[in-house]
Symmetry: C2
Subunit: 430 residues, 2 copies
Amino acid sequence: MPQKTHFTSEITPDLDGREVALAGWVWEIRDLGKVKFVILRDRDGMIQLTFKPGKTPESLLELVSSLNKEDVIAVRGIVAASKIARAGVEVFPQELSILAKAKPLPVDIWNNTSDLPTRLKYRAVDLKNPRNLAIFTLASEILRAIRDTLYRHKFIEVFTPKIISTSTEGGAELFTVLYFERVAYLAQSPQLYKEQLTASLERVFEIAPAYRAERHNTDYHLNEFISIDGEAAFMNYRDIMDVLEDLMRSVVSVVKSREDRLKRWGLRPALEDVSGIPRVEYEEALAKLRSLGYDVKWGDDLNVEMQRALMKYYGPLYFITDFPADLRPFYTKRSEEDPKKSESYDLILNGIEIVSGATRVHTREVLEAEMRRRSLDPSAFEGHLSVFDWGMPPHAGFGLGFNRLLMALLGLENVREAVLYPRDRYRLEP
Amino acid sequence: MPQKTHFTSEITPDLDGREVALAGWVWEIRDLGKVKFVILRDRDGMIQLTFKPGKTPESLLELVSSLNKEDVIAVRGIVAASKIARAGVEVFPQELSILAKAKPLPVDIWNNTSDLPTRLKYRAVDLKNPRNLAIFTLASEILRAIRDTLYRHKFIEVFTPKIISTSTEGGAELFTVLYFERVAYLAQSPQLYKEQLTASLERVFEIAPAYRAERHNTDYHLNEFISIDGEAAFMNYRDIMDVLEDLMRSVVSVVKSREDRLKRWGLRPALEDVSGIPRVEYEEALAKLRSLGYDVKWGDDLNVEMQRALMKYYGPLYFITDFPADLRPFYTKRSEEDPKKSESYDLILNGIEIVSGATRVHTREVLEAEMRRRSLDPSAFEGHLSVFDWGMPPHAGFGLGFNRLLMALLGLENVREAVLYPRDRYRLEP
């Protein structure tokens, strides 16, 4: 049999009369006695295969009777436009091979009656669910749109090491790695590396795993997640917010183009479009929250509940900017007009922080002072600090949590649904 | 001063008379008394800034005298086509700011007199070398070309976990991670995950770090490297070799388009073009090697020296196919005609193996038998094996070492030159 010539989504009525080779999984079998229908599923959709005496070789009719759900089959057949079949088209098979038999599945991918722990335990099976196929094909298209946006803004892609010798930023809990004779750690972010790279490659981005050994066990924390990091020389936080606005616009237009498929499987995209993203100063956000009855004072961080409350004023997607400097990491640049504040921002989608960023400190003396202020010892960062002696440009950047973006965009209830094989406090398998 | 409006590479004679804003680093200062030249370097190239009385504001002339090499500057000025200046163009600055001063560098980025250990110790500085800028901007463009090729072949991008609970494939040495109360490992490859994903997402690729705790300390081994992995349902190893041929064609055309810049900095691309890539059966390769005097018998693996020797017959880029099955991992499918052989291949560039792949076993019973044959205990792989019960398609795939590809393509002597921050047996910093 020839290689698969088409994905099911490519079988349209205008192929009427054409021979095609398909391959995929048996989603459903409808046996009406003489006439039998098999719904074939592949990554991109479903198609009806119609078997009936006269149109179907005799031997195939018997083979069809032996099929089980999720058996893997390959089919060669003739496309026929149809007024009855879903999608207006069906295929009359002339040849059929069973490539693999399937036992009954441990996850109900048809009616979604399995709970999340069961689904994650048998994740490879759960991923056959058309809802998951819609999520993860979309994820790939979103990644592509994000990269294209960053290329357009002249960022180049880099990879920095995930095994590091010391805590990157201080504070966060790290996973320990035994590296030959030495103790090392898994990087919580590429922060210091990407800043260093602005001194040579100017505008860089990295899409790679990041690690947090936090003992959280919530619906929106992961211990291994995909971080999209960008950093650019000769830009400030406003320039980066411009880039992110463009980035979110591309992302939402990809989601929009896949809306039918998403809705068919019960997914409700959070954003219709992105025109401009409101940039709300922290102080203004505080005032709004107080007017809503929240007891929040200058210097407090905002929590998810507050971020949700602010949607009333700013919609589902907004920046909060100019946070108190002491709420942010040591490498954050203070505002020139008011050093209590910083040139920083978060991007909030559906109440969830999906991006965090800032203009960075680019002089060694200030960086050392900010470290000391946070009880970090500059001598532990000598390798990094010395880079600032040799021509470090002003720079700014962002860190975007890819799984959270996907979760918030699609209104998923748990971030684990936005990862193929999640790693959390108690989950190290499969 | 406005944001950088142009990269230096974008300043061409046709911009004559236009005002531009540039930013970058002082590469060279030529002081001819009244007239002074500053060569400004940025990520994409260099441009001559010309300061002369009458054309340059008085205050700038003084400022220029205070410049040191690698100071970070921003400039606003007027472009002028020139018959004398390199690239046929220069800029007459009207405004200049020193954004950061630089101390003398610990690496000679001008004359390449520093040795590799020094360069890697001060890697952030070493990366300012135009040769490195050429390598790593090209790396990003190659990655883009590779992804575009895989998208064209309908692969989608995925991410699989790098923290795993058991050895993926048996055999290789793994780094240990302390994962809360448990002992875990860093993945040596996404092999089993990507195979599982063919049962849902059909054609997947992943570009991510991979880890080998090998004690090698050679010029072509790394302990953390970027692995480009692809796996596709309903394909065999010949189909995958077709994809790889297309992929290498795109990669080489990117290199070709950057040839001038690469050659200027002493880099000699290994390939002029890719028409068809020879597919040499292992047995034929053995015969050729014997005719060259190598003492090699059926069942032996080929080493770098032999792979270099074969270039005499097949050129700088060729596949070796149909290896003895027992030389390959347990998941490799045996040939149907001769079960001593396997549906496997390596892709050799400049004597170095850059890709390895095969058609995979897709039935549980065979997989278990192949495990036992290699003294692996199937019960340790139960989670993976069970996926084969629930509709596993025939599939095939590849693993491409990105850093080795870059090394071989550009004729670099050491794979560490093809990584921003290498990790090796003795190197965990910076």
